[in-house]
């Protein structure tokens, strides 16, 4: 317990974006309970690329889906642990969500609390996409084949970014002479690249189409007055005569609805701490009533005139979708936005997936084998893109792959997983230069390396194969395949212990601590 406190304090200092603690996930199948994750703990710092590596069935993808709370239920369930995303534990209400009675391996009764489950889903639907996004191995399967790329990206924007869109529409419609004069004089004083300045301004005011005309205008040797009137005309041509009153009403409505989420998060946290929640609950009820009261007419209209009301936002979201496609280096984004997934190559599909994940400006991206289905040359392009996004936007990345060389290229820290356990964790260079766990060193020896002089060498392989997780081996799950097996290995489970700075390993060769 003290140990745990210590870990907690440390993490508060460094403030990782994602903290996973003792995560346990099980699948209840007709053949028995699959112990897919057994107390997995790690954390991803802000702006860091953290790699999870392991063979198929080691639980790396289950870890990712557990973090997103997307485990298919039934048969799967998260059974315990904590997942802090940006400081909020999404598994706060886990024990209350369902009562699980395990009578035998094949006979498990789950009683779900529907009301709490609904609240949990509501909170998760707001966190997913907004705070943390995910891309998958097979872009062809992850994309919806009957919707155009643009529609799929705008869907995401419409779900999470309505307030921002409404605000930029209002700014655009209110653009007047004063703004134009301010902009032009600021531009004249601006020392750097005028393109960048113009780009920021046009984006903030939701007039991205004006970027090129403005550049053209500046190139002419016209007087300030002329430029001003031209620009004003340009700006006015962009205005859609939208009903501003309506847009700002809708903005307020969405803003207030988002505020409701904060209250729910507070409630959930208070419940976890065991505090009295009656006050918060009544506050939420009051708030909900207030929203329903003051926006009743708007809600009614939005219900029956959905298409018209969404249309205002959709046009803006589409512009942003094209911008996002541009950001992920897709050539001719204006054309691609209207194509169907099957018309694109694998690399382009994965780029569109990344664009979709970026749509709501998440601070973290979970990439689950993003390049496994792609060719080496395309893989190099996608890895380059993810690296750039990490550097430019400062996005944290949880990078999951079975390819150790990709990990070596992408990540700062790595966790090695085996049969549902994290067996080793450390900085990338250390894991590859002096691996501690026998599984890690075995895995490294088994890779055919491209460097010279390996032609005549025999590959070292790990005996046997990955165990069945319905009946996992006792003690350390790697012991049946381990070269250094000792008596204790089959009896006790080793704990993940820090051997040198930041380098942790779960093996009795290095420490006798028992989990």
């Amino acid at each position: 317990m003290e140990e745990l406190q210590e870990v907690k304090q440390k993490t508060v200092q460094e403030e990782p974006y994602l903290i996973v603690e003792d995560l346990v996930t099980r699948f209840f199948t007709s053949k028995g309970i699959v112990k897919a994750l057994e107390k997995v703990s790690f954390s991803v710092r802000r702006g860091e690329v953290y790699g999870l590596v392991g063979e198929s069935g080691c639980g790396k993808s289950v870890t990712a889906t557990s973090i997103m709370d997307l485990i298919p239920d039934p048969p799967g369930r998260i059974m315990g642990g904590k997942v802090y995303i940006d400081g909020f534990n999404i598994l706060n209400d886990l024990p209350k969500l369902a009562r699980i009675t395990i009578k035998s391996e094949t006979n498990v009764i789950i009683k779900r609390n529907k009301r709490l489950q609904k609240r949990h889903n509501y909170i998760m639907s707001k966190i997913r996409g907004k705070k943390i996004a995910m891309i998958f191995q097979e872009p062809a399967l992850a994309l919806n084949p009957v919707l155009r790329i643009g529609e799929q990206i705008t869907e995401n924007i419409m779900l999470h970014n309505r307030v921002e869109i409404a605000e930029s529409i209002i700014r655009r419609e209110n653009l007047g002479e004063k703004d134009v004069v301010d902009f032009l004089s600021a531009l004249e004083q601006y020392k750097g690249d005028p393109r960048k300045f113009i780009n920021t301004w046009t984006r903030n005011n939701a007039v991205p189409e004006l970027e090129e005309p403005i550049l053209d205008l500046l190139r002419t040797d016209a007087s300030f007055e002329f430029k001003k009137s031209e620009l004003l005309a340009l700006v006015n041509s962009q205005k859609h005569q939208t009903n501003l009153g309506l847009v700002s009403l809708m903005r307020d409505y969405y803003k207030d609805s988002d505020a409701l989420l904060d209250l729910y998060l507070k409630l959930s946290e208070a419940e976890e701490r065991g505090e009295d929640t009656t006050k918060l609950e009544s506050q939420i009820k009051e708030y909900e009533r207030a929203i329903r009261g003051s926006y009743s007419f708007l809600r009614l209209k939005m219900r029956f005139l959905k298409r018209r009301y969404d249309g205002i936002f959709k046009a803006e979201a589409r512009k942003r979708a094209i911008e996002l496609l541009n950001l992920v280096n897709i050539a001719e984004p204006a054309r691609i936005v209207d194509s169907y997934p099957h018309e694109l190559s694998g690399g382009m599909q994965q780029r569109s997936m990344i664009a979709m994940a970026l749509a709501s400006n998440p601070k973290m991206l979970i990439a689950d084998e993003p390049t496994t289905a792609l060719d080496v040359t395309t893989q190099a392009q996608i890895l380059d893109l993810i690296r750039d996004l990490n550097k430019v936007i400062g996005m944290s990345v949880l990078f999951i792959t079975h390819d150790l060389a990709v990990i070596a290229e992408m990540c700062t820290r790595v966790g090695v997983m085996y049969a549902g356990n994290l067996v080793e964790e450390g900085p990338v260079n250390e894991i590859f230069s002096k691996p501690l766990h026998p599984y890690t060193s075995g895995l490294l020896a088994a890779i055919p390396k491209v460097e010279a002089g390996t032609r005549d060498m025999k590959l070292e392989s790990i005996q046997g194969s990955v165990p069945n997780l319905i009946k996992p081996p006792s003690g350390c799950r790697f012991h049946p395949r381990c070269k250094f097996k000792m008596d204790i290995c089959s009896e006790q489970k080793p704990r993940l212990v820090e051997i040198s700075k930041g380098h942790k390993v779960a093996c009795f060769l290095y420490s006798s601590e028992v989990a």
């Binding site: 063979e55 198929s56 090129e212 550049l215 053209d216 190139r219 050539a331 190559s345 694998g346 690399g347 382009m348 060719d375 080496v376 040359t377 395309t378 893989q379 190099a380 392009q381 890895l383 380059d384 079975h402 390819d403 150790l404 060389a405 990709v406 070596a408 290229e409 590859f432 075995g442 895995l443 020896a445 088994a446 890779i447 055919p448 390396k449 491209v450 460097e451 010279a452 390996t454 032609r455 025999k458 590959l459 070292e460 392989s461 790990i462 194969s465 990955v466």
Partner: protein, 489 residues
């Protein structure tokens, strides 16, 4: 070309001669849209006891090549000679190569020899070529040639016991009795690292690695000489992959097998192969000894491909070549060298055609990108004719006379060709005016690279390494850019 080093006395097991496999792309019941050239004029030899790695990206035709050699699909053209007596094999190779050399040279004096050769070869092909074999002869060939497939889950019959799976080729292709077959199955299952009681189980009871072992046992059961391995470890985990690769090497040493090892995984190819063939869009672009290919590769595509391998070594990461764009569609491949649109060192004659130039020319004439183009005036359209090799610039409002505009465009193209990546503009051979408002760019006819021997045993299909005259010509055309005085003007 392969007999250039005749002192190589190793026995030649397989000779693939100018093999082609085209697939029809049909748009409707009767009309055909065109052809996908999955395998396009591939030639190589495989020695006894050797491993030839075939590597390339998705859609490059490596799997189709394997399937065509196995006669799992019929070839469109070309021949495959396999397991023939050595003198006969060498005679056939010599004749085929001479024939195809003459075909390409288009020399009138060789026409008679060509006809003679064709007659002789027709006889040999009908008798020995695998692509024409039928019925019993085909069965004979197949006894010595077995496939191993990528997916160990779908390549084993789920309703058969392992003993029946392993016995099937022996029952079909040999005269062994049931008892002998069973004895042999026991021996085989032991050899591949499983035990006898595994014979009485079904495929679903095994893991991926074990299933791949069973697939190998089935393939070697009839003592073939050649195994065609199509991505045998791509569906397996690293630690299991190492087991399978070790098993394959042991078997090769014990039995003197020849492998054709198809994979997209370059590290595996390096480990397993003696020689490596690199394919791009159905063509063989480079073929060399493994060490030579990985240390001293010649083709720009091979360079890019090898540099893209993820690596533990940070120094390798620094020198990475990231290719732009995507693999072109094989239904409508680029002209000349298929790789030229993505090639970082493309030259003037590498295959630039109107479709490569239409967009860049349009961009060049856009005053927003290129202020100097403002003088040309508004451009109505940039059209192309791929057949005639021309790009037409249709002017909407010419500011000057057509002659003057043509001169302006000439200068623009010259400037553009000096910029980074402006090689494609050097392919513009002539700028002329067509009435009433069109300026016509004539594009140079591209050269098509052939697979030539650059150094002993190292073949490459790239114009950079082709005969010195071509290179000279290239250099010359680079020195004489587009606005060199045109005798016709």
């Amino acid at each position: 070309m392969f007999l250039d080093y005749e002192n190589d006395t190793r026995n030649i097991l397989l000779y693939v001669s100018h093999l082609k496999k085209y697939f029809d792309v049909s748009s409707s019941f009767l009309s055909s849209k065109g052809k996908i050239k999955a395998v396009d004029d591939v030639t190589f030899i495989l020695h006894e006891g050797e491993t030839l790695g075939v590597v390339g990206e998705t859609g490059c035709g490596k799997t189709t090549l394997g399937r065509t050699i196995l006669r799992l699909t019929d070839a469109t053209d070309g021949n495959v000679y396999f397991n023939l007596p050595q003198p006969l094999m060498r005679e056939i190779i010599e004749k085929e190569e001479r024939y195809h050399g003459l075909l390409l040279s288009k020399d009138a004096s060789g026409k008679r020899e060509l006809n003679e050769l064709e007659n002789e070869l027709e006889h040999l092909r009908a008798k020995y070529s695998l692509t024409r074999a039928r019925g019993k002869t085909l069965k004979e060939f197949r006894k010595n040639m077995q496939p191993i497939f990528q997916d160990p889950f779908s390549s084993l019959d789920p309703r058969k016991l392992i003993k029946d799976i392993i016995a099937e080729p022996m029952r079909l292709l040999t005269d062994l009795t049931e008892d002998q077959i069973f004895e042999k199955s026991k021996k085989l299952i032991d050899e591949i690292g499983l035990s006898e009681d595994h014979l009485y189980r079904f495929p679903h009871e095994f893991s991926g690695g074990q299933r791949q072992r069973i697939g190998i046992a089935r393939a070697i059961s009839i003592e073939p000489k050649l195994l065609i391995l199509d991505e045998p470890t791509s569906a397996l985990d690293v630690s299991v992959q190492a087991q399978i690769l070790n098993l394959l090497r042991d078997l090769q040493q014990q039995r003197g097998l020849s492998y054709m090892f198809i994979s997209h995984h370059l590290n595996v190819i390096r480990l397993m192969s003696d020689r490596v063939a690199v394919m791009y869009l159905g063509k063989l672009v480079e073929l060399a000894n493994t060490d030579k290919l990985f240390t001293n590769m010649l083709h720009p595509y091979t360079k890019a491909l090898l540099s893209a391998i993820p690596s533990f070594d940070p120094a390798r990461r620094q020198s990475r070549i990231i290719l732009e764009g995507e693999i072109p569609s094989p239904a409508d491949p680029p002209k000349g060298c298929y790789f030229h649109p993505r090639c970082p060192v493309a030259m003037v004659n590498c295959g630039w055609s109107p479709r490569d130039l239409v967009k860049p020319v349009a961009a060049m004439l856009e005053p927003y990108n290129n202020p100097e183009a403002a003088d040309v005036g508004e451009v109505k359209e940039v059209a192309m004719d791929e057949q005639a090799n021309i790009v037409d610039i249709v002017l909407a409002k010419p500011k000057f006379s057509l002659d003057k505009s043509a001169e302006l465009i000439k200068n623009l193209i010259h400037k553009e060709s000096m910029k980074k990546g402006g090689v494609r503009f050097t392919a513009v051979q002539k700028v002329s005016n067509e009435n009433p408002d069109t300026i016509r760019l004539l594009i140079r006819n591209p050269d098509t690279p052939r697979l030539i021997e650059n150094s002993p045993g190292h073949f490459v299909s790239c114009l950079i390494y082709e005969s010195k005259t071509t290179l000279k010509e290239t250099v010359r055309s680079m020195e004489n850019p587009v606005y060199a005085p045109d005798p016709n003007n």
